[in-house]
Amino acid sequence: MPTDGTLPDGVSVGADLRSMSAYVHVPFCRVRCGYCDFNTYTATELSGVSQATYVDELEKEIILSGRVLERAGITGRPLSSVFFGGGTPTLLPATDLVRALESLRELHGVVPGAEITTEANPDTLTYEYVEELARAGFTRISIGMQSAVPTVLATLDRTHNPQSVAPAVEAARAVGLQVSVDLIYGTPGETLSQWRESLESAIALDTGHISAYALIVEDGTALERRIRRGELPAPDDDLEADMYELADQLLGAAGFEWYEVSNWAKSPTERSVHNLMYWQGQDWWGYGPGAHSHIGGTRFWNVKHPAAYAQQLALNNSPSAGWEQPDHDARELERILLGSRLREGISTDGIHPETLVRLSGDGLIDSDAASRGLLILTLTGRLRADDVVRRVAFE
């Protein structure tokens, strides 16, 4: 990609058929959790990069993105959703998040009723904080609850007090924000009954949305080293499958419906627009170090380190580190792998009838839906979504 970030020709084709969103990465955490391999840094890991001036850097990229999109012929596309993720966005003062949102609004515009979310650590959330966000136009907050069980949180290195989740949810709701809580299952040592306890606690919060993600032990993390040394048990896929089924069962009983493999909502209006747009293959610009963007079939991503990111922007260069234009096969694979995770499923056009028959026979897809021309995963199929994708895409 050229240093000024110019996008390849053709990215504007069909732009009016796709929505536009923004992701804003905030690469700071107070402590690094042992399982985390996200692009985030604690204060001691960063030198020469200040949290205080971080939004200044973001604003530079926002201006740059305006130039790049204009050159590509993509203008006048207000944002359908904005998502602040991390890291821990709420480590920044609310005014910083608001300022970044204002810059985005100024550049792109925001559609009426757009979903504006930030992730939040329950410990950092006060009434004043959420009130300021709500006033500035934030509509939603996603709280990193992870677990209700102190020993599980300790294994995850999460420092928050589980007691602080309920007041945080209450505060957010009081100022009119939609609330989601994030849960993690499959933490080494976590039992099925501990997971049930977390689910029940999350359900008791009476939010409209819950995400439940299986813990992935990533290479290079402290957690991976501890498992390798035998200090912690290795993940057990069968237990994780039981946990997923329990989640689907308890959440279903509490009025939630899955709309994506790892996400449940009480009604279609509670679904996360931003989350869905990733799976639907819409356009978005990812701001901040390491953030990924997707514009008109081109995927590109920024340099990971905040210092390198700031350095490129200071030189008036694009902070992007690489890009790709997936070929036809790759795009087709993406369409299948993204779309099949959704409750709406994908069209069965182009899928070999025998593959469909076998997938139905194995109980992985809904056979009624298949007869109507849709590939929709069953509960068993959601647990084996990658297998379904391989069979649909490669057989």
Partner: protein
């Protein structure tokens, strides 16, 4: 001590009375090659400068392993009391698998030096070769080697040798191949004790082939001992077993480099070159005669050595198959006992079913294929030839368990060997246990000296080819040695155990085992495969079966979770690449029915390795 001879006798005109033909019988590591080197030096046919350690062992593998596979004959001049003699030292192969070749080498000699390490005493295989030499009426000269070693105990082992072959302990010569001490005396003794060869110089030519070696430049070099008559350059010769005729392009003696001569007469030992390219045309034990004036009677003792151990050899990288075929074709030129035919396995792909004289032979060939041709190979569990009779009274020889006849079997017979195990007496109990567990039948025990015993067993060969030697060594801290010879066949209660993956037979794991051991084998393999085969999208039963009867079963439960929870901040690329990588990985899988098995799992299962990463 005798001086070096300054006037060597000319081949083709040497009186038999001035010839001495001998070999050295010794165990691996007892210093035979070092002693032979010293003889070459002392007799002056190799100068000190060009002397390299173990001159006679040509192949790298031999030098590295310190063993001799191919024998050669070296002619050395030696003077005793003013008379010059021609000493022919015939180097014998030193391993159990090459008994037939040893027997032909011995048949070319009138005497043998029995060489024993003064720190270790005699070993089972030396004993077997000694018996063979005594059966051939060879004059035995007992010698203790390595007497320069601090651990040497010549008194003890001299007594042992004297007990064994008769005579007095003081008559056992003590030498050091390393320092050269006693070697000249030994050569004097060879002249004095070993009888001169006899034969009829006027009879039609008869020479016995005791070795043939393939040389890339000269073709096959055939080593012979002339019994009667004379062989000359340009003569047309005939092989008496095959009736094939060849012209002698060159005839001569090794000293130790080849020196062409005017011929070879009665009692002489040397080489022939006829230009043939395949050692199969020059068979060990065959008789060479004059085509124009052939002998009426071939020399006794010729047989075609039989392959006794069979194994499938497969390239780990399937695309190496043509390389393997070429490599085998090449090795075959120099190894008359190697045979092979193409074979296909569900688990391992394309390979060759190979027949070997024995386990060491298998090991040597595999190692040469890997080393000289850069191949990575996997060998299936060794098998022996079984004679299987079916209900319709047809008998077939089964060398590969997957070719075992289906249907009702009325009789199975298996090859037996007579095994000699030489061991310090403390290990007798543990060896008895081992042999009993391998269906061995104790024939007798004999004590040597104070603390060593030779145990004689009759035991099925099939029990020996499967890790018997490893067990013997580990149970005796390496002290026991083993030798065996074929001893006929016996009917046994044998069955074929198949291993099934989701009902599909996996050929590479079928085995012919005794009925009493079938369950243990089935259990071991099903458990091992369960640990090695990754979970599938469906449940996979692993069964061991005799015919239609299931004797053991394990189940690999179906994968329940195969999904990544989330995409990282919109990093779709990462997830797509992971799926693409899984697709590539699938291409390297072997399919057994619907079950995908990584090739490494099969290899690990064959090697008994249970630690394969399930990725």
């Amino acid at each position: 001590m005798s001086p070096r001879s300054t006037n060597p006798l000319q081949p083709a005109s040497t009186q038999p009375a001035k010839i001495r033909n001998f070999c050295i019988i010794a165990h691996i590591d007892h210093g035979k090659s070092t002693l032979a080197d010293r003889m070459l030096q002392i007799t002056g046919i190799v100068d000190d400068r060009s002397m390299r350690a173990q001159y006679l062992d040509r192949m790298d593998i031999e030098r590295e392993r310190g063993i001799t596979i191919k024998s050669q004959a070296v002619r050395m001049p030696w003077e005793v009391e003013g008379q010059t003699y021609a000493l022919n030292m015939i180097d014998t192969p030193g391993h159990v698998d090459f008994t037939y070749e040893v027997s032909r080498s011995l048949a070319a000699c009138e005497g043998a030096i029995l060489l024993v390490d003064a720190a270790q005493g005699i070993e089972a295989q030396t004993l077997a070769n000694l018996y063979l030499a005594m059966e051939n009426d060879l004059t035995i000269i007992p010698v203790l080697n390595k007497i320069d070693l601090p651990a040497a105990d010549p008194e003890k082992y001299a007594k042992e040798l004297a007990d064994l072959i008769g005579g007095k302990p003081e008559d056992v010569l003590r030498v050091s191949g390393k320092t050269g001490m006693g070697v000249a005396e030994l050569l004097d003794l060879v002249v004095e004790k070993i009888p001169a060869p006899t034969g009829d110089a006027d009879a039609p030519a008869r020479a016995m082939i005791f070795d043939s070696v393939y040389d890339a430049y000269r073709g096959v070099i055939t080593y012979v001992r002339v019994i009667d008559g004379m062989l000359k350059p340009r003569q047309r010769i005939q092989m008496m077993s095959t009736k094939a005729t060849h012209e002698l392009i060159e005839i001569g003696v090794s000293s130790p480099e080849p020196i062409p001569s005017q011929g070879l007469g009665v009692g002489e030992v040397g080489y022939l070159i006829t230009g043939v390219k395949d050692v199969r045309q020059s068979k060990v034990g065959d008789t060479v005669t004059d085509f124009a004036k052939p002998a009426s009677q071939a020399l006794p003792g010729y047989t075609d050595p039989k392959a006794m151990v069979f194994s499938g050899l497969y390239p780990i990288d399937g695309s190496d198959y043509p390389v393997l075929r070429e490599a085998l074709d090449k090795l075959k030129l120099s190894d008359a006992s190697l045979n092979y035919e193409p074979e296909t396995s569900v688990a391992l792909g394309f390979g060759f079913r190979c027949g070997f004289l024995g386990l060491l032979h298998l090991e040597i060939i595999t190692e040469r294929l890997e080393r000289e041709f850069g191949l990575d190979l996997i060998a299936t569990a060794p098998s022996v030839p079984y004679e299987v009779t079916t209900e319709d009274k047809k008998t077939v020889t089964v060398t590969n368990p997957s070719e075992y006849p289906t249907g009702k079997i009325t009789r199975v017979s298996e090859p037996l060997v007579r095994a000699g195990i030489l061991t310090p007496k403390d290990y007798v109990g543990t060896i008895m246990e081992l042999c009993q567990s391998r269906r061995g039948n104790l024939l007798g025990m004999e004590y040597f000296g104070e603390d060593r015993v030779e145990m004689k067993y009759e035991i099925p060969l099939g029990e020996i080819v499967f890790d018997f030697f490893d067990h013997l060594k580990s149970r005796t801290q390496g002290y026991a040695s083993l030798d065996y010879e074929e001893a006929g066949e016996q009917d046994s209660d044998l069955v074929k155990v198949d291993i099934l993956l989701q009902g599909e037979q996996v050929d590479a794991f079928s085995a012919i085992v005794h009925k009493d051991k079938a369950y243990a084998y089935g259990l071991m393999m099903t458990e091992r495969l369960k640990k090695l085969i990754p979970r599938q999208q469906f449940e996979v039963p692993i069964q061991a079966a005799i015919g239609a009867r299931i004797i053991a079963r394990e189940t690999i439960s179906a994968i329940r979770k195969d999904v990544l929870a989330k995409c990282y901040g919109g990093d779709i690329t990462r997830k797509r690449k992971l799926l693409e990588k899984q697709k590539e990985g699938k291409k390297r899988m072997k399919m057994v029915g619907r079950v995908e098995v990584p090739q490494e799992a099969f290899i690990a299962a064959l090697q008994g390795d249970e630690e394969v990463k399930k990725k």
